[in-house]
């Protein structure tokens, strides 16, 4: 039975069967058969090559591999063969004019697009080498490992505590829920602002606080990758700055992919930037390079505002 100090706020937790917690084990097709304490977050198979044999600097395995990804909305060929690697513990920004496919690409990374009728996808997306579109992969597990924060803050009309605890509760989390809520709120840099009002409505928070609450809610199910679709575009500059600081802080523990229309935001917070245009990847490079010496003329024209 989960122990909690807040029984009135947690009827679901009280009534939940003592099933195991959400797993941080990188399997995508075993929804609820793993304990969590004995399986550290790691993608390494025992058969993986000995780290000692690997040269130390470039040996980082990409967190996500996207290979020849195509996507259609009906007849509209929205992604036309995207291939890119996304490095772990980095912030990768996707930029490009409206309709270039960046949000579509982002949603392909946790199978959100398949919820839309009349769409088709080809190509592969691997997370830690595992195909998230494999027929045995469970979309719910995929989305637990690859979480998402949306453009507009969308807290549930519940208390702050409930918002964060929700995912863990429905998954039958049997750890210390209070500790999970606190840890998630701290990671989202919101704890100090809400610790004395955890049981008041999330809808009373400011926009920036609501967005950080949504980040905390995403983190509470312990994903590896966090996708963010313009997470600060509906926020004022101070709230934007807090969300940006939070993102920078989060990359220690998570891999982050962010779609943004704000190129200064991309340049401030990301390590790598990918520029998409008309469904194709034009250029992907370290952010400082892309904004100082872009390789492609089209990238330069876009970042300097000469078209778009």
């Amino acid at each position: 039975m989960p122990t909690t100090n807040e029984p009135a706020e947690n009827p679901a937790a009280e009534n939940a069967p003592p099933t195991p917690a959400p797993s941080s084990e990188p399997s995508l097709n075993e929804p609820s058969s793993n304990g969590r304490a004995d399986t550290p977050v790691s993608s390494e198979e025992p058969s993986a090559s000995d780290p000692a044999d690997v040269p130390s600097e470039p040996a980082m395995e990409p967190k996500l591999n996207i290979d020849d990804l195509h996507f259609w909305y009906g007849e509209n060929h929205a992604l036309q063969g995207i291939t890119m690697d996304i490095q772990p513990n980095k912030v990768t920004a996707l930029i490009g004019p409206s309709g270039c496919g960046k949000s579509t690409l982002l949603r392909c990374l946790n199978r959100m697009n398949e919820l839309i009728q009349g769409t088709t996808m080809e190509g592969t997306v691997l997370v830690d080498g595992q195909d998230i579109y494999d027929e045995n992969a469970d979309p719910v597990m995929v989305r637990r490992r690859v979480g998402m924060v949306f453009q507009k803050p969308n807290p549930f009309p519940k208390t702050i505590y409930k918002n964060v605890a929700w995912g863990a509760e429905i998954n039958g989390y049997d750890g210390d829920l209070d500790a999970l809520v606190e840890r998630s709120l701290r990671q989202a840099a919101l704890w100090d602002e809400v610790k004395d009002r955890l049981h008041t409505s999330a809808l009373d928070l400011s926009g920036g606080q609501q967005q950080r609450l949504c980040i905390a809610r995403t983190l509470a199910v312990e994903p590896d990758v966090v996708l963010m679709d313009e997470p600060a575009s509906a926020l004022d500059p101070i709230a934007t700055s807090k969300v940006e600081e939070t993102i920078t802080e989060l990359k220690k523990d998570y891999t982050i992919v962010i779609v943004t229309h704000n190129m200064q935001q991309a340049s401030r917070i990301s390590d790598e930037t990918a520029f998409l245009y008309m469904g194709r990847l034009v250029e992907m490079n370290p952010t400082d390079q892309l904004f100082t010496r872009p390789e492609k003329d089209r990238t330069e024209a876009y970042v300097t505002g000469r078209f778009g």
Binding site: M263, S267, T292, V303, T304, G305, R306, G308
Partner: protein, 238 residues
């Protein structure tokens, strides 16, 4: 996303100011050399007085650069244009200072007509001035090849400076009766050599703007060895 039309206007205005700066400095240089060659102290005075206008223009250009950086946050080629503008502004202003210093020698050389014309200094002045004008053209036309030619010429001026320096020292050692004038000629030679250095710097900045490539300090052998010894500059330690 920059407001392109407004940024373009600001850049046009900045380029206009720099072109004005280049013209004024070029004129100062011509006047300074004429004052020296003709012993024209009045013209020399005019050059000294003219330096204030160049200093004022330097401040105005820097202000315009600061304004564009603050209001438009330029990136890529636009950012390199701004970095170049700040740097060549300083180079032009320094050339202006050297012109002022050159003309301060006029009164001393006026007592020894012919001595200056006897040296390679007029040749050095011609070459430095060609470098300055070519650098100016390279700036106006964004012409990286012209800029690279300017850079190559600097070696010739340096050689002439060494030659002149050795010759003047020898004249002193041989007991030339006008050793004070010779000391002034040494100053002139040094000033001309510095002017060509600044013209070279301007040309290097133009190559940087157009190509995104930093040609300075090639002796360090490019980025590879330089970055091996220095801490990383990506600021991502936090």
């Amino acid at each position: 996303m920059p407001n392109r039309s407004s940024l373009d206007q600001e850049l046009v205005s900045l380029r206009g100011l720099i072109a004005d700066m280049a013209n004024r400095v070029d004129e100062q240089f011509a006047n300074a050399m004429n004052a020296l060659l003709q012993g024209d102290t009045e013209l020399a005075e005019q050059v000294v007085d003219g330096d204030d206008a160049i200093d004022a223009l330097e401040l105005r250009i820097d202000k315009q650069c600061e304004r564009i950086l603050a209001l438009h946050s330029p990136v890529a080629v636009d950012l390199r244009m701004l970095i170049m503008a700040v740097k060549i502004n300083t180079d032009f202003e320094r050339i202006g200072d050297h012109c002022r210093n050159l003309s301060r020698n006029a009164r001393h050389l006026a007592n020894a007509p012919g001595l200056l014309a006897d040296t390679r200094l007029p040749k050095m002045a011609d070459m430095s001035r060609t470098m300055l004008r070519e650098a100016e053209m390279a700036f106006l036309e964004n012409d990286r090849l012209k800029a690279r030619k300017v850079i190559a010429r600097d070696l010739q001026v340096n050689r002439l400076h060494e030659e002149t320096f050795a010759k003047l020292v020898k004249m002193c050692q041989d007991g030339h009766e006008q050793s004070e004038v010779i000391a002034h000629l040494l100053t002139v030679s040094k000033a001309l050599e510095r002017i060509s250095d600044h013209a070279k710097n301007i040309a290097q900045s133009i190559v940087f703007m157009v190509e995104g490539r930093d040609l300075r300090h090639r002796g360090i052998d490019g980025e590879a060895s330089a970055s091996a010894d220095l801490p990383p500059v990506d600021g991502s330690s936090g």
